[in-house]
Every structure is written in C-alpha cells, then in structure tokens.
Amino acid sequence: MFRHEQIEINAGLLIALTLVVISVGGLVEIVPLFKIPSTVEAVPEVRPYTPLELRGRDIYQREGCFYCHSQMVRPLRDEWLRYGHYSLAAESRYDHPFLWGSKRTGPDLARVGGKYSNAWHVQHLIDPRSVVPESIMPAYPWLMERELDYGDIARRMAALRKAGVPYSLTEAEYRRNVERWGKAVADRLDIRRAEEALLAQAEAGNYDGDRRRLTEMDAIVAYLQALGTMVDFKKYGEAYFVQFR
C-alpha cells in the first residue's frame, strides 16, 4: 500500500516528485503556446528590425529604458483609448529578448512609432523637461554626443539569425525575404550588406537632425519610430484578431 511516509523519508524521491508536480502547471500553460498555431496572428508584414533599428534597440536595453517603459498595450478599454490597438503576439516575434517590461513609470511605448516627430524625440531625450515640464524622466544627452559604434552589426545580426530571426546570409535566404517583404526591406535585412544598409538608412532618415554625424541618437530614434508601426490594423478588422484567443 502507498504510504506518504515513503516519500517524506526519501529525499531523492521527494525532489523528483516535487519537480514533476510543479512542472505540470508550467508545461500545461507554456508549451501549448509554442505548439498551437492559432495563438499567433498571421500578420506577414511584421519584419525584423533593420540594422540601424537593431543598434537602437541595443541602446534602449543598455540605458535600461524597459525598467520604466513597457512595450505591451493590454486589451483594456483605458489602454485602447490612450495608446491604441492592443499588442499582438506576432508583433514581438523577432524580439530577442522581449522588451515588454513590467512597470510603467513612464508611458507604454509599444505604439510610439510615428506619434511624435524625430526632432521631438531628440529634444526630449537630451532634456525631457524642456518639452514636458512635468516629466520625471532622466536626461540622456550623451546619445547625441556619442558616435554610433556599428562595427559588429553583422555579427549581432548573425547571432539573432541563429535564434530564428530571418536575416539573410545566403542568396536563397535573401530571395525569400524579397518575396516576403519586397526588395527595399530585404536589402536592409541582409547580413552581408549590413553596414551599407545601416549607413543608408541613417543618411536617408537623418533621425538626429545632424547630417554630419552618425550618433547613437540616430539609432535609438530610428528604433522608437519603428515601434508598433508594422501592422496595418485597418487591413484586418477586429473580428480577425479575436480568433487568436
């Protein structure tokens, strides 16, 4: 007959069975999210970050922006009214790691792309209170002073490619990207021409307003302006997204 005492007096068995019991909850809740295709929205226009946006994202992480800013609009009425459409799972598919955050000392940034002009972002990052007097955000003036280091951009992209992000390293991969997102986007996602693409985007966008220099400000503003802009929500309609929950 089974006696609980057998488990209690046998440390190895106790550990093994404890692990079995506590992993049930985790496995039942987490594994299906990877295995059930109907939980991730099919929005093929979501693309990986361009080399310049990727460097901006690295700076976003370095400066710890995610401690105070979330990137996750939840399906709640007040968030919908303030920030816009709730975030989709598919919008984070190329994020390694996710920068959803868990605390909002500042506002959510998941839909900040295109909301303000580049000049506003530059001024606000250099001196937040000069544009928003009630802000408690720290100033990041060095972003405008520091040259952007992009020497290892190809290696950064190659590492993400190993994690499943479709940056192209071969001609076949490049052609697949052209099919998915068109040539202009695919050119920016090609590891072999990463530096070229980064410089071209910075030149065309002139995000920091200073054409003479390529600064960290260029990269982070390019990243912020891309956030939450990839999905054209008008194209799908709300009945579509509801199926995925």
Partner: protein
C-alpha cells in the same frame, strides 16, 4: 516507536505521526477541519465545471473553447459571436459598456454637427473640451505643451493669435489630419555674412525694431528681389503665406527665432540670422491613421478655443 496518547491534555484520540526526536519530541497528526476539506472538494468541482465553460485545455494543435460563454460584438458592420476571450470582451466593452454608450450619444451628436453648431452649443462644446483635453494631453501636449504654448524654435504656440498654417477650424483640422512639413531653405551658402546682416535688419524692422535704416533698405532689396527670394513665401510686405506655412514677420510673434528671449538688438539680430542661415525643417505628424475623425474634430475645437482661433 511512538508512545501514543502521551500528551495527557489532549487525550488519547489524537494520533501522532509516529516520529520521535530527542527521545520524546513528537508531532500530532490532527485530521483536517471538516469545513476546510469540503471547501477543497468544492474548488475541485469548480475547476471541472470551469473547464467546460471557458477556454481551458490544449488539445493537439488547438484548445477547448468552452461551451456556455459567448461574446457578441460589432466589427466592420457585422455582428460577430465568438468564444469567451479578453479581446472580444474588450470590443464589447468599447461598444457597449455604460460609459461607452453615454459617450457615444455625444460622439454621434458631435459627428453629425458642423463646427458652428458645436461652438454655439454649450453642452457639445463642454463635451468637446473635456474629451479633447485627454486626447490632447496624450497626443499633442508632448510637443505643444499642456498649456498649448509650445516651445520657441521647435513646436509652434497654439495659444496665441498667430497661425502659420491658418487658424480657421478647417485649417486646424487639415493640420491635424494630414500633418505639416515646416520648411525654409538654408541661406548660409547663398548669402554672405554681410547680406545676412542686412536681411536680419530688414526682418526686425518689419516688427518695429529700431535698426540701421540703410542696412534695412539693403536687406529689403535682398528680401524682395531674386537674391534672397524671401518674398515668394513671406510676401513683399512680410506678412507670410499661410499656404506655405510661412510666418508673418510683422506681428511681433516669433515661432523659430527667439527674438523676445534676447535682450539686446545684436542678440535679436543674431537669432534671426541663425534661422536664415540654417533654414527650418519641422515636422508635424499626420494623425489621420492614429485618431478617428471624431477625435480630430474634437481636437480641432479644443485647439481653436485654446488660442483665439479665427
């Protein structure tokens, strides 16, 4: 083994676990209270019922959706009924919560009314003011300031009487809906330092500053001639063309050059020269994809009321 019932105060009915430490230290094995046990069984029953009612178990590449709870909402003119989920619940709340219904009455009224009617009706105007204040606070205040005063050099003041792109409700609505590209070419290469001095003197003279009349006269020729060509956008009189977003230089209101911020005439001239030399490149984003037409209408009323709209 154990010495059952050794604890005389509790009587012999209470079992011990049978362990003994340090010779006589024992552990009671009391049965769980009956109410606790039934509450536990109750939660088990609750969970099983819940599995059937709500989305619960993963099955293969899909999951059980629950049988009872359905959510019905409107999407693109159609009625959609779906299993219980947070996204559908949000849609329902946006469309049918008491707050949304109350707000909708007003929104429909505002959508149907012209600007004249809204401005004439205290009830609708009050609604526009209070709702637009929230929309403004989140979308416009970061640049233009919560008081609408903007920031000289970067973001235009909405609370004064000067309107770069026009101050009628129609103009304001277009500015919000389509955005604006504020542009003035840089004259740093086209004009010499001396010519820049002269143009700055003329520009300052337009708003009544006491400048060297000869320099101003030379500046006027550059301004009104082909050398500078300033008059194409600012007009010969310097009053500016709204269609180009070109500032009225005669009204003593400055949006880019910080003339009021400089106490000396030399400083004021330096500010004007800086703008002529470097040009202007400012962007107001387009809001038509982010805000719906009624929100834009409410914002238009709000901005119009902020700064003596025309």
């Amino acid at each position: 083994m154990s010495d059952r019932g050794a604890d005389k105060g509790r009587g012999a009915a209470v079992q011990t676990t049978g362990h003994a430490w340090d010779g006589d230290l024992q552990e009671f094995n009391n049965p769980l209270p009956r109410w606790w046990l039934w509450a536990f069984y109750g939660t088990v029953v609750f969970a099983v019922v819940y599995w059937f009612l709500y989305p619960a178990w993963p099955v293969g590449r899909d999951y059980t959706k629950g049988v009872l709870n359905r959510v019905t909402f409107q999407a693109g003119g159609e009625t959609v009924t779906t299993h219980w989920n947070t996204r559908a619940r949000l849609m329902l709340e946006l469309q049918d919560s008491p707050a949304a219904r109350r707000q909708r009455q007003y929104l429909e009224k505002v959508a149907a009314a012209g600007y004249d009617e809204i401005l004439a009706d205290p009830d609708m105007k009050g609604f526009a003011w209070s709702m637009a204040k929230g929309v403004y606070g989140d979308n416009c205040a970061p640049c233009h300031g919560s008081d609408g005063k903007g920031r000289i050099g970067l973001f235009p003041n909405l609370a004064d009487d000067a309107w770069l792109w026009g101050g009628t409700v129609e103009d304001i609505e277009t500015s919000i809906r389509e955005g604006r590209q504020g542009f003035m070419p840089a004259f740093g290469e086209a004009l010499s330092e001396r010519q820049l001095d002269d143009v700055a003197a003329f520009v300052l003279s337009l708003s009544g500053h006491e400048v060297d009349p000869e320099a101003a006269a030379r500046g006027a020729r550059i301004f009104r001639g082909e050398t500078g060509g300033c008059h194409y956008c600012h007009t010969r009189e310097g009053t500016g063309l709204k269609s180009q977003g070109a500032a009225d230089l005669t009204d003593r209101i400055w949006t880019v050059a910080d003339v009021p911020g400089r106490p000396t005439l030399a400083g004021k001239k330096e500010e004007v020269k800086r703008v002529v030399r470097d040009g202007i490149r400012r962007t107001m984003p387009a809001w038509k994809d982010r805000l719906d037409p009624v929100q834009i209408k409410l914002l238009t009323v709000y901005v119009h009321e902020l700064g003596g709209g025309r």
